[in-house]
């Protein structure tokens, strides 16, 4: 491959380390590609060109001085809900379309301290609410595999940017599937770590008990490299886990002979398209060939995951989004008549209808007289689902399931039907409710569009999960499939 942008993060790392390329060259190449493709794909909201080049120069200087770390000079882009000091942090909302963050999120700072170069900020569904990236103040993101299709969401910009090689790796966040579903739709690899593995400090909250920052990249090995940078305890996030961070790359090559992979009955039912089922069979065969043992397991309560999720997440969101009131920052209505008018118009104008819908659902679920029937019930379901997983992991090491019921759908196909859109998360939300790590990895094409399979593990089993995915990527080439080059721009 002559084009640098097509390489994995690991390949670029070795080229930087060997001195074959400089970070400035690498960064310039990606910036040029972003400039060429972004008008078509709309994956980036902000491109931080001069800042990126300055960071690249600093990285090259550090390498010359012998102070470079393993990731120094490698490019990355951040979902636009990670706060970036001095750079627009919009959450793809009109509400924050004027918000320049005064500080860096933990994840952003960690990447910077590792010497990585930030290319820019990525498009998303507004406040991470959506599964298609159609719900953005900055317009929909296009799927590089078919420009008429969605890239998934809410980390649609992250997935599209990696799939189209506009960045070798990107951060994303996953509250109900927002990393894994777009990874599936774009043929990329995505990892949602264990809840608490990556600090949420500086990550604008959608649903605090479910949100988790993670990565989308070109391979499981790239995710292992990146996770080592962003994972770790942060005292500024009380829910951050004080657990040692292993070297995720060190165990990638371990054999998975004898690994027990559970197949949850609930995820292999009639809702799964036959051709999607065929892709899952291929994944199972590949794992069997690597010596893994596939065993059926039961998750009796996961059928209730979607309704529970769509009570808990909006309930938390209804409070999390209260701070956007037009008083201290963000969109503020013109010449408000009084306080109520200021609130009503600032919020009415600043939020899209999907955000308003979720705030209303959440407010209703928490209201006096409804709290027990909705919020409390949903939390009970959540505990049952957590117990299901705990029990399942006494019988297996990892769970294998589809990530999505189908391949990427057409732009506009579900935008008028919120419930159909919510069902996009049917295979992914249970993982968030249980706080477990989940990864999505390519499983081959159906009708020229990517599919992805999902691995879910016990808490803090990221090393094992990435090891299994990496082993499969050593014997299959699904993750190497790339969309046809976009030339007609």
């Amino acid at each position: 491959m002559s084009d640098l942008t097509q390489h994995t993060l690991l390949e670029l790392q070795s080229q930087l380390q060997s001195g074959a390329i400089s970070s400035v060259e690498l960064t310039s190449t990606f910036l040029a590609r972003i400039e060429r493709l972004n008008p078509t794909l709309n994956a980036f909201i902000t491109v931080t060109e001069s800042q990126a080049l300055a960071q690249a120069q600093a990285a090259d200087a550090a390498r010359a001085a012998g102070t470079a770390g393993p990731l120094t000079g490698l490019p990355i882009a951040h979902k636009d809900l990670f706060c970036t000091d001095g750079v627009l942090t919009s959450c793809a909302s009109k509400m924050l379309s004027n918000f320049v963050a005064p500080y860096d999120a933990h994840v952003v700072r960690a990447c910077q301290e590792a010497g990585m170069v930030m290319l820019g900020k990525l498009n998303m569904d507004e406040f991470a609410m959506g599964s298609s990236n159609e719900n953005s103040f900055y317009g929909p993101v296009k799927n590089p595999w078919d420009l008429k299709r969605v890239p998934g969401g809410s980390s649609g910009g992250s997935a599209a940017a990696v799939a189209a090689s506009m960045t070798p790796i990107a951060t994303g966040t996953d509250t109900g599937g927002s990393i894994r579903q777009p990874a599936a739709f774009t043929g990329t690899s995505g990892l949602k770590p264990t809840y608490g593995r990556v600090s949420r400090f500086g990550m604008v909250a959608y649903a605090s008990s479910l949100d988790q920052g993670g990565l989308i990249g070109k391979s499981a090995a790239d995710l292992a490299l990146g996770l080592g940078v962003i994972a770790g305890h942060d005292p500024r996030d009380s829910t951050s886990a004080d657990q040692p961070v292993p070297d995720y790359t060190a165990t990638l090559t371990d054999s998975i002979q004898g690994l027990k992979i559970g197949l949850p009955d609930a995820f292999f039912d009639e809702r799964l398209d036959a051709r999607m089922q065929a892709r899952m069979e291929a994944v199972m065969d590949a794992y069997r060939a690597l010596g893994a043992e596939l065993v059926p397991v039961k998750l009796p309560h996961v059928a209730e995951a979607i309704p529970a999720y769509y009570v808990i997440a909006p309930a938390e969101a209804s409070a999390n989004l209260s701070r956007f009131d037009g008083v201290r920052y963000g969109h503020r209505a013109d010449s408000p008549a009084d306080l109520t008018d200021l609130y009503e118009r600032s919020r009415g104008e600043g939020f899209s209808s999907e955000v308003k819908r979720r705030i209303l659902i959440g407010t209703y679920a928490l209201s006096e007289g409804y709290f027990d029937a909705y919020y409390k019930k949903a939390q009970q379901i959540r505990r049952l689902i957590q117990q299901d997983f705990t029990h399942a992991f006494t019988e297996c090491d990892l769970l294998l399931s589809p990530t999505t019921p189908s391949t990427a759908f057409q732009i506009g196909a579900k935008s008028d039907d919120p419930v159909a859109m919510y069902l996009e998360d049917i295979y992914t939300v249970a993982t968030n409710l249980a706080g477990l790590p989940g990864g999505c990895f390519p499983s081959g094409l159906v009708d020229g569009l990517p599919t992805g399979y999902q691995l879910t593990g016990p808490a803090f089993s990221e090393a094992r999960l990435l090891n299994a995915a990496h082993q499969l990527q050593q014997t299959t080439d699904w993750h190497l499939a790339t969309p046809e080059e976009i030339t007609h721009v």
Partner: protein, 480 residues
């Protein structure tokens, strides 16, 4: 006849150095918004991290009122919109407070005591301040106070009068000062009180409809606000009306409460556990450490003072209410060896002066050793009560030590009978008419008339004559 049923919600600002969920300083009186961090401003993406010191203070309070300590307490979000509430919710505790049921003992006016049960006390964060009068047509927001830790102490509705409510409030105030968990300064808002008031026919078991008087900020106003609210409710019922459940504000200028919002307008706060904060689990060792660090509390000190210094229950309860005054008294009593005299001085001249000057005992110009020495000079008859007052006033003006003042002003009491006799003779010689009248008067009238001569003698001696000796000598010489 009606009786009142009163419960208090007392908000105490905890004296932590930093805020409940951020590292900002809690110092009072700084320029607006200079103590508001990204977290206090509720910037997108920021998260709260709890202040362990606040847990310690809350647990100490719980132990001091003999309460159950919440081994697992949970922070909840209380949702409402207001510009001085940056997140649009207040972090508080709803279902699982850090302090469960406890009680305090209050002293009633008739000398009896009464047990008042405390329902709970929970940790929460304070809001900022809205400033409505600084900008024409606009409201200013100062977030310095936003996030300051509060302990909200909720009593059972067991207080039967405004006086009982104040007595309860004073006990709480005394406790938080002893525990050093708050300065309890009501004028600065470190301690604020919401009063829930209802009335019912005397003897009735059912509770009447209650109103809540918000944010009353002095002991005196608590008493006045409750009394005016009780009277308002009685008038309504006697006119055949119904009390409406609502929130009211007390206007001290007009001595009346005014409606703020009715129940219908009341917020549904939609409490739910804050997902940004894990449940707080307190282990036995932490609670034991808090227990070990408890100071001697007012009740124990009261007993000790009556036993050690021979003072009455009542005097002891007045003296121990304020920890600093109690310490001051003890020093005076120890150094002078005169418990009763020390109590009289501290409860009399000292407290009167503190009230009048509105200063605390720690800034009082008359130190405990000054006062002890003054008392000793009275005991050894160097001073009489009149000259002692003069010395006390001189001490207030920082004129030097007790003996220096006595020396400088020549205040040594004259107890030499020869000297006093000479003055008495002078006075008798100078007032022949009064002497004649005295001698003609009956015994029962003479007592009063003697005062004139005593006054004359004291005047001539510049107040230094021993009054007892003067009386004795005069009585004997006049009856000659």
């Amino acid at each position: 006849m009606y009786e009142a049923v009163i419960g208090l919600e007392v908000h105490v600002q905890l004296a932590t150095e930093s805020k409940m969920f951020s590292g900002s300083s809690t110092q009072f009186g700084q320029a607006p918004n200079t103590q508001a961090s990204l977290i206090d401003l509720a910037m997108p993406g920021v998260l709260p991290t709890p202040n362990a010191k606040a847990f310690e203070m809350a647990v100490k309070f719980g132990l001091a009122i003999d309460a159950e300590i919440g081994r697992t307490s949970v922070f909840d979000r209380k949702n409402y919109f207001y510009p001085d509430l940056p997140k649009g919710y207040q972090i508080s505790q709803f279902d699982a407070p850090i302090v469960g049921p406890g009680h305090v003992i209050i002293q009633l006016e008739d000398g009896e005591t009464k047990r008042i049960n405390v329902t709970r006390a929970h940790l929460e964060e304070d809001a900022g301040k809205s400033i409505h009068d600084a900008f024409d047509g606009l409201t200013g927001v100062d977030l310095n106070r936003a996030g300051t830790p509060l302990l909200e102490i909720v009593s059972e509705p067991e207080l039967a009068s405004a006086k009982e409510a104040v007595a309860y409030l004073r006990v709480i105030h005394s406790l938080i000062r002893y525990l050093e968990i708050s300065d309890g300064n009501m004028a600065e808002g470190s301690m604020r009180c919401d009063c829930n008031v209802s009335i019912r026919p005397k003897g009735s078991q059912a509770l009447g409809t209650r109103t809540e008087i918000k944010n009353v900020n002095s002991f005196r106003f608590v008493e006045k606000a409750i009394n005016s609210e009780i009277n308002r409710q009685i008038e309504i019922l006697e006119d055949g009306g119904r009390v409406i459940q609502e929130t009211r504000l007390y206007d001290p200028d007009r001595d009346e409460t005014r409606s703020m919002r009715s129940k219908e307008e009341a917020n549904d706060y939609r409490y739910f556990p804050d997902p940004d904060l894990l449940p707080v689990v307190l282990d036995e060792a932490f609670i034991q450490a808090c227990r070990d660090a408890l100071p001697e509390l007012p009740a124990a000190r009261k007993v000790r003072y009556t036993e050690t210094y021979g003072i009455t229950d009542y005097d002891a309860s007045v003296l121990v209410a304020d920890r600093d005054i109690a310490d001051y008294f003890a020093k005076v009593a120890e150094a002078s060896g005169e418990g009763k005299l020390a109590a009289n001085w501290v409860m009399g001249s000292v407290m009167a002066e503190l009230n009048q000057q509105d200063v605390s005992i720690t800034e009082f110009p008359v130190t405990a050793s000054d006062l002890a020495q003054l008392i000793q000079r009275v005991s050894d008859q160097t001073l009489n009560s009149k000259t002692a007052k003069t010395v006390f006033e001189a001490l207030l003006n920082r004129e030097g030590s007790v003996d220096d003042i006595i020396q400088a002003r020549g205040l040594v009491q004259v107890t030499d009978t020869g000297a006093i006799e000479a003055i008495v003779d002078e006075v008798i010689a100078e007032n022949p008419d009064q002497v004649a009248n005295y001698r003609q008067a009956t015994e029962d009238k003479r007592g009063k008339m003697l005062g004139f001569f005593v006054g004359q003698v004291m005047k001539k001696s510049q107040g230094k004559a021993n009054p007892q000796a003067v009386n004795q000598i005069l009585a004997s010489k006049l009856s000659d």
